[in-house]
Amino acid sequence: MMRAKDRLIIVAAGCSLPAVFLLGLEFASRNGWVNPTFLPAPSAIFATFAQIILTGAFFAPLVHTLTLLFVGYSIGCIAAISLGVLMGYSRAIYNLFEPLTELIRPIPKPALLPALILFLGLGAPMEITIVALGSFFPVLINTVQGVRAVDPVMIDTARTFGHKSPAVWRRILLPASAPYVLAGMRISLGLALLLVVTSEMLSGNGGLGDAILSAQRSFLVKESYAWLIVLALVGLVLTAIFNWTEKRVAFWQAPQAQ
């Protein structure tokens, strides 16, 4: 009984801030305290949002964005984990690639977009490349650290008990470094989403980033806010899926600080 009441208080408190904000905005917009042309009433924005959802207008841009994100993120993560494991495991490989990595890593990734546009044009290859590049480095750094953090005694023990290299990899190195790799993949996911939206904005070839910027350029104010809601939902759902997966893949690891 008490716990149900506590939970109610928590939910009510959490909802109060968005509710007050939205109601205040609705009121201000209807009474003309703010210019409804530039800041439409939330109810009008939600009506447009519902229209985008119900007519299925959200579908093509959403699929476009998610496809680019998924392909680019997968390429970036797989490449980074592969190289990261090697660099973490072998000192020689680490020494070979470390200077190159440190040279490319500090590039603010959106700055590469104009160069990539020159080479790859405005289409999907350019967008996938930038997402993959952006995803690559956080995962690489974390994977190297993760593999290095594995207690050598564990590896030696496994060897002593006659485990061959593949088993050592599968049973010890990969599981023990998984929490680090996932922490890197979490950073990369946020960056990948940022980059896919930016590249779609610059290329204007479809996708949610293109939709939101086109709406702004055509002065479709309500649509522009409605697409922002769509993008926020995409971010929320992807984060939720990531958290859900992380809990199952690295369940032995205590939750990490941000």
């Binding site: 530039f38 800041l39 590039i107 700055a111 104009p114 939206v197 702004q216 922002l228 984060t239």
Partner: protein, 282 residues
């Protein structure tokens, strides 16, 4: 103090120094990696010079660096660099001036935590460039739009790390402070704040990297000046060497800012530890 920071630097890269044989030293050196970088740059230079890659988009490396030097020294880029840095500093400053107090309030006051934290969790996954188009309607194309985006991006890592840092303060510190009859405000200032500082700084460092990225994005999408805008203009003008020079420049800015932050961070946290160790807190 300087030496201690320097020691941390070397340890961060290759661990504590041990006396090793020459063979091991050669194997552990980064010579192979530096050689790889040189080879790649040579390949870039040669492929452009010999016409192996025939493209106006592919100027030799030396041309890019020469262009960078010329663009900076003849004063074409200098005002743009300053405008980008000034924009970044203001947006970042607003972000952390809001973020740190907000983080403390959320961590220390349960009512604030209950009311504000869910909203933060709700807003955090928004891809930051997406807020730019709607904000254009509210703020126009000027600097306030860019500053808001940069501040928005800075806010989340700072708030979340501040919360984590304050929550991670050993309760015993607070109890000791109470036992000695220290006022709530003094305890906050001299016990909780220094103890949470390493987390806060980690958040600020993450935020700095993100703020640079968002500054570039904002300048690229709705630019009127700044290096990000210059970069896109050079792409449109097909002046490839200037474009690459701008990329190198932005990379240098990002790298140097990060380095400077790490140096400052080392000093600040060192100071915190010294104070703690010498029992200076009241």
């Amino acid at each position: 103090m300087t030496q201690l920071v320097a020691d941390n630097e070397t340890q961060g890269l290759s661990g504590p120094k041990r006396s090793v044989s020459i063979g091991v030293r050669v194997r552990n050196s980064r010579a192979s990696g530096v050689l790889l970088v040189v080879l790649i740059l040579c390949a870039w230079e040669l492929s452009a010079r010999t016409g192996f890659v025939q493209s106006t988009n592919w100027p030799p490396f030396s041309t890019v660096m020469a262009t960078l030097v010329v663009d900076v020294t003849d004063g074409e880029l200098l005002p743009l660099i300053l405008s980008t840095l000034w924009r970044l500093a203001r947006g970042y400053g607003i972000g952390f001036a809001i973020g740190i107090p907000l983080g403390f309030a959320i961590a220390l006051l349960r009512p604030v935590r209950l009311v504000v934290r869910p909203t933060i969790e709700l807003l955090r996954p928004i891809p930051i460039p997406a807020i730019i188009p709607p904000l254009i309607f509210l703020l126009g194309l000027g600097d306030s739009l860019k500053l808001s985006s940069i501040a928005f991006a800075t806010l989340f890592p700072v708030v979340l790390n501040t919360i984590a840092g304050v929550m991670a303060v050993e309760p015993i510190y607070d109890q000791v402070a109470k036992t000695f009859g220290v006022s709530r405000w003094t305890a906050l200032r001299r016990v909780v704040f220094p103890a949470a500082l390493p987390f806060v700084l980690a958040g600020l460092r993450t935020a700095l990297g993100l703020a640079v990225v968002v500054t570039v994005v904002a300048e690229m999408i709705v630019g009127q000046d700044g290096v990000g805008y210059y970069l896109v203009s050079m792409q449109f003008a097909m002046r490839a060497a200037d474009m690459y020079a701008a990329i190198v420049l932005l990379t240098l800015i990002a790298y140097l800012l990060n380095r400077a932050f790490i140096l400052a961070e080392g000093r600040i946290i060192r100071w915190t530890r010294l104070r703690e160790a010498s029992g200076d807190a009241s």
